[in-house]
């Protein structure tokens, strides 16, 4: 199981634990995201299961030392199945007073706190609104505080290297990482290897970072300030080759796999928007697969260029977040009306309006369902973990191409930026993707439909003798020519809805986890899978009969949804919004009495708040 754990030193007083939650916090320029990622990757290679939660401000470099400029990275690693980054924290690393102030409440009493004492200056304490120094006033007595003059020690480690002060201070995060590696018996090899690749052309930087990392590690080992170190055994996971992946990368790669398997070239028309832009970044790196990434002049051009590419025969995708989806609404309606394949990826963030760009929320569901003029149903699906974003991006392409319709894929900032181990799939592991392309013939009827799915024929420009026109105006059900005939419009309205409804025949049924039937069914959708699953798991361990029903297919819903809802005495729909999925369910299945648990704080659910709520309603 252990594959990459050379040089592991195991002190005698090492304690074995099943899981641990660590949070790194500091200024947005302190490199906390890099530190957290390095710790996560190293632990993944060691064989732990992992979930991460980067939490950062929307300002790129907020004023130094300010409370709102704090950037954090939380990671849970374990030898058990890990589905969330954890509620409360076993180790908090605070690089400055502002980080301590905003994150201390998450630290479990009695647990370890590492602080850089050099940053606890009068000025920084004032910026963090501390009246007195928490390191001196006894307010941290409930924690194991490890005070380290990290900045000075980093300077000392690098004094002979002739680096400027800024570069020296910038590497103090590696001192913290070195200490944490020691505490959790982790090898430094992966991170040193990372320096060597990342700074290939800057050997001084490689040397400096390596020095500081080791300095931190040996400092923790030598100075007898760490009473206990911890070991987390590798998790029992399916055999195979793994890598750490975040939801945005997984989404991008799912699109790549769909393009390769379907034989359609991939076109991505997109406009930068947080937190979706990383998909555009990722695909822009892989142009050698012949994919076309087009950074458009605005959100509308992002989707309309994709519609043009789809019309001309590409697998067309546009990526965005809430405000962008609003701008794309009219164009998605056009794609729906002319019945072209189109994938819209919406990485949800806190709304409304500009809202909370870097925070997570599930509040675009109703916009995805209904955010267009006229009767314009489209397929709506949602990914629920960082790694299954790969599968649902692939599925979105498959459904769009096979059913000739726009498909909206919802992910969210939490799974888009969060990382987890992914058992790597090959393109050949994925189901084949069909299409509706017609290559020859005469008297072409553009809206001739497949009898079963109702998907229309697709004649692509460049095909001789199949020239035809499509458009946003209502058209005759057979010829496709413009028609405003009343009964024809009625017929067309119904058949477009029926086409989407029939997708039910092509998607899997849904089944609850933990219990087939019981006292309470916890219903969720999309990115809350991990949080809800951890909470339901705990309820069952405590003896409650609670099931977890999680939706990835929302429009249409799986065929057997009502059967499943009926098997439980109570149903509670949990969402990171004011109650949107519950509206969709109520529209479809009025006979169920739905309880709700809603949260709109820009943060994921915690296990504690969920289990408390479940016990309350039981």
């Amino acid at each position: 199981m252990i594959t990459d754990s050379k040089n592991n030193t195991t002190p005698k007083d090492s304690v074995v634990v099943e899981n641990v939650v660590i949070r790194f916090v500091g200024d947005s320029g302190d490199g906390m995201q890099l530190t957290g990622t390095q710790f996560s990757d190293t632990s993944a290679m060691f064989g732990n299961d992992i979930a991460t939660f980067p939490n950062y401000p929307s300002e790129i470099r907020a004023p130094q030392g300010s409370l709102y400029g704090v950037s954090g990275f939380q990671v849970q690693i374990g030898s058990l199945d890990i589905t969330t980054p954890g509620d409360s924290v076993d180790l908090l690393v605070a690089m400055n007073p502002a980080g301590l102030k905003t994150n201390l409440s998450a630290l479990k009493p009695g647990q370890m706190l590492i602080v850089d004492t050099d940053s606890f200056t009068k000025k920084n304490l004032e910026k963090a609104h501390y009246d007195s120094n928490p390191l001196e006033d006894g307010s941290l007595d409930n924690y194991k505080v490890i005070e380290v003059a990290m900045t000075s020690l980093t300077k000392e480690a690098l004094k002979d290297m002739g680096l400027d002060n800024k570069s020296v201070i910038r590497s103090k995060n590696m001192f913290a990482l070195g200490m944490v590696y020691f505490i959790y018996n982790r090898s430094m090899d992966h991170t040193i290897d990372f320096f060597q690749k990342k700074f290939k052309k800057k050997p001084t930087i490689v040397e400096a970072n390596t020095k500081v990392l080791k300095a931190g590690y040996y400092f923790a080992e030598t100075m007898e300030i760490i009473a206990t170190t911890y070991q987390i055994a590798p998790a029992t996971m399916d055999k195979g080759i793994y890598r750490m992946i975040n939801g945005n990368t997984a989404t991008a790669w799912g699109l790549l796999a769909a393009s390769q398997n379907s034989g359609f070239e991939l076109f991505l028309g997109s406009y930068p928007i947080t937190p979706a832009t990383d998909i555009l970044h990722e695909l822009s790196k892989h142009r050698y697969f012949g994919i076309k990434t087009f950074q458009a002049e605005d959100e509308i051009a992002g989707v309309t260029s994709s519609i043009g590419a789809s019309f001309a025969g590409d697998l067309a995708v546009t990526t965005t977040s809430g405000p962008g989806l609003a701008l794309k609404g009219e164009a998605i309606g056009l794609a729906m009306m002319i019945e072209l394949p189109l994938v819209i990826v919406n990485v949800q963030r806190g709304g409304p309006s500009t809202g909370l760009p870097t925070k997570t929320e599930q509040s675009d569901l109703l916009q995805a369902m209904y955010g267009r003029n006229g009767e314009s149903p489209v397929i709506v699906i949602a990914a629920s973990t960082p790694s299954n974003s790969f599968d649902f991006a692939y599925e979105a392409c498959k459904l769009a191409l096979e059913h000739m319709t726009p498909v909206i894929l919802l992910t969210d900032g939490y799974i888009a930026n969060g990382s987890a181990p992914w058992k790597i799939k090959k393109a050949a592991d994925m189901p084949p993707i069909g299409n509706q392309v017609v290559k020859e013939g005469t008297n072409h009827v553009p809206y001739k439909r497949d009898e079963k799915s109702l998907a229309r024929n697709w004649a692509i420009p460049g095909t001789p003798n199949l020239e035809h026109r499509v458009g946003g105006l209502e058209k005759d059900k057979t010829t496709g020519n413009v028609s405003q005939e009343p009964l024809n419009h009625q017929f067309q309205t119904e058949i477009r809805a029926e086409k989407v409804r029939r997708v039910q025949d092509y998607i899997p049924e849904i089944h609850p986890e933990y219990q087939e039937a019981g006292d309470l069914l916890v219903v969720g959708w999309g990115g809350t899978y991990g949080s809800l699953n951890a909470a339901v798991n705990q309820m069952n361990q405590e003896g409650y009969k609670v099931g977890h029903l999680h939706f990835n297919y929302i429009n249409p819903l799986p065929k057997n949804t009502l059967d499943q809802l009926k098997k439980f005495k109570k149903v509670i729909v949990c969402e990171l919004n004011a109650g949107q999925m519950v509206q969709v369910l109520k529209n479809n299945y009025q006979e169920i009495d739905y309880l709700q648990y809603n949260k709109a704080q820009g943060l994921p659910f915690t296990t504690l708040e969920l289990t408390e709520k479940f016990k309350q309603v039981l």
Binding site: M1, T3, D4, D41, M45, G47, H190, M237, D238, K239, G240, I241, Y242, R243, W253, L256, A257, Q260, F267, G269, H286, R287, Y288, G290, K292, F294, A296, E297, I300, A301, T304, S305, S306, I307, G308, A309, S310, F311, A312, G313, D314, A316, A331, G333, L334, K423, I424, K426, A427, A428, P461, G462, L466, E467, H468, R469, V470, G471, G472, V482
Partner: protein
Amino acid sequence: MENTATKYTFKDYQSDQEVRWCPGCDDYVILRSIQKALPETGVKKENVVFISGIGCSSRFPYYMDTYGMHSIHGRAAAIATGAKLANPELSVWVASGDGDSMAIGGNHFIHVLRRNVDINYILFNNEIYGLTKGQFSPTSLLGQKTKTSPYGNTQPPFNPGELAIGSRARFFARLGGNVPKEMTQVFIEAEKFKGTSLVEILQNCVIFNDGCYTKYTDKAVKDEMQIHLEHGKPMIFGKERNKGLVLNGLKLEVVTLGENGITEADLLVHDAHEPDITLHAMLVRLEYPLATGVIRSVEEPTFGERERELVNRVTESSRFKSVDDLFFSGETYEVK
């Protein structure tokens, strides 16, 4: 793209749909001119795509027996960009009005020109909103009385040529709406040009803005009021071909041949291929005479060419032959 096997006629491009523009509309002339131009371009019929937005002129694709999309208001240029990037073999045409192109679709209009996407863009400029029945447009004149400016328009207009050149247009032509022969020739030239070919047609709206171009396009005054530019030819105009343009300081000036010792040799010679925009910008702004013909035609790599060059370059040096190579690259680990 060249096709020698089939020779099309204009009838091959007529769809079975009844044309529903108002009687006397210049759009009929434009439609017929395109249908006559396409057989001369050598493009296979199945490769021709017409994209439009919303407006009277945007009904255009329905009347062409080619691939076509009547889309949503203002977005034709962006849709055309996607279609051309998806399949560079296509001959992509945009049919769009002044409101569609320069009001609701202004952003796409300037960016398609900036990028130099290899499409042909016919701008039907009638200085009015026709389909919504007579509101002022971004090219309506100051003081113009319309349904939304009953006391006169207070919004100064765009000059489409000026906007286009400011957006780095490489090809700009302007013609009256009543000159089918010239139109056919310019459309052929536009199709052959590699890059965004913008052709502005001064199109009379018989219902809501009738006569808006009469002072330039009426047969009786046309030769006096227009200077039809041809690359490499001196800038001469007038019924008697006795007037011309010279540069006086930083301004264009009309001179009469034979007066003050002026001869043809003193006149400016039209150079459509000059990369510097100065003279072209002066020509598009000229109010007397109105410059028509191909005013600017400067080839440089198209967006698609730049994109394909990039893809070829990175593909040659890539170590990934399939997506699996990418998925298994970098930091992976095995659980045994």
